[in-house]
Amino acid sequence: MKYSLSGITKHYGDIEALRGIDLTIGDEVLGIIGYSGVGKTTLLKILAGLEVPTAGILKYNNERITPDNMAYLRKNATMIFQTPLFLRGDVFTNIAYGLRLRKTPEATIEERVEKVLETVRLPGLAHRDTKDLSGGEQQRVALARALVLDPEVLLLDEPTSNLDPGNASIINDILREESDSRVIVIATHDLPQVSRLADRVLYLMDGVISEEGAPEQVEAITRFTENIFPGISRHVDGVSTLKVENIDLKFTEPVEGRVSIHVRPQDIILSNDWIETSARNQFRGPIVGVEEKNGVVLVSVDVGTVFRAQITRKSFDEMGLFLGKEVNISFKASSVILL
């Protein structure tokens, strides 16, 4: 057993980021999913020895971790952050940094940097300035900088959230290869990624583990895969807009740049006609799918992109809905969740 956490709690002032987490992590790939701000990063930082829990017991290799021996944990567990950050200098300087701290001989450093660059599919890039790297290259160099230390545990915080599908797929391939030789804990909202990579998934909600199990057992994964839209957001006059296909989705979170948003199927209102409403998002399109599950009906509506709305069987019957019928969907800008 690599980690054992019991009653781990973390407060930031009045904010409770984690509440009584009990968890063991063995030789496995563990996925952590959940919305933004539920404590995923905090949990990773505690596992990385970067944050001290407010309460609870953290053990690594059966040794209790206290503020006095967190360096021991940090020598064995390396974290990769959502946005790669680099020290001044070239790729080599950055990858060699951790090895130099460990007083590794320069000849060995050169050899290991070269090897790890091949692992991350970036051979020959050692002397490129980190400022000149593309987004995908940056994340792979950040991965190389951690892998070169050969850590027992690799902790990744949303490693592919800012990447295009091509680069995300390369990162996933590398992680799959690395999962044979080390423990991997990955916080993500890329659910296909977590389904393919993880042996076990935790669903965090408001600082507690709300579901846990193999990816196919965790209901949150199926619930989560509905209505996720990645794209580039613009924030103007207090409203953010994300262009998806040919429709503009409005939401309130003030963010610019590449983001993924999620609309819960139960937050979408279906109507036969255009309705006067305060909801900033209203679109019209035909019903392209109907699926009944546990007494509720999931209606897929193609308004340029497909939305899934959840309604009761009674509403479905009363509205006289059928496949191909044109309907309106509406939802508030504030019900859009930023992932």
Partner: protein
């Protein structure tokens, strides 16, 4: 200053200028280091840095802000007149500096010489700024 025998001496002027620029320098350096936020600290710590090594890394990454603080402070002191006059008294050959000389020549009506000295002052400031910028460019 008198009891320390610093009045009307170069050393006295230097002490006065140092007191003047200290707050500017400290404020600039502190804000440069603080701007290197928690993410950088977390990064170097997860790569295995001790607390001491983390501090070194943060200062090194804040280098451009620190050098900006040094240039600004130097420029402030170099172009300063009040302290140079008050503590140095503009004694020819001893405590006369560019700014006090410019003030003296202007008050004498020697505008030509005053302008010439002003251009020398500007030239020195510009060359120094350019040199520091060049150093920064080479190191990043």
């Amino acid at each position: 200053m008198g009891s320390l025998s610093l009045l009307y001496t170069v050393r006295g002027v230097a002490v006065g200028q140092a007191i003047l620029i200290l707050p500017i320098m400290v404020t600039f350096i502190v804000s440069a280091i603080e701007s290197k936020d928690q993410e950088l600290r977390d990064l170097v710590r997860t790569l295995g840095a001790s607390e001491y090594e983390t501090s070194i890394a943060v200062v090194r990454e804040a280098y451009s802000g620190v050098s900006l603080a040094i240039i600004s402070s130097f420029n402030r002191a170099f172009a300063e007149l009040g302290i140079a006059t008050m503590l140095g008294a503009n004694i020819s050959g001893i405590t006369r500096v560019l700014t006090t000389a410019i003030a003296l020549e202007t008050s004498k009506g020697e505008l030509g010489l005053s302008f010439a000295l002003s251009f020398i002052l500007l030239f020195v400031v510009l060359v120094l700024n350019y040199f520091i910028n060049w150093l920064q460019g080479g190191s990043t």
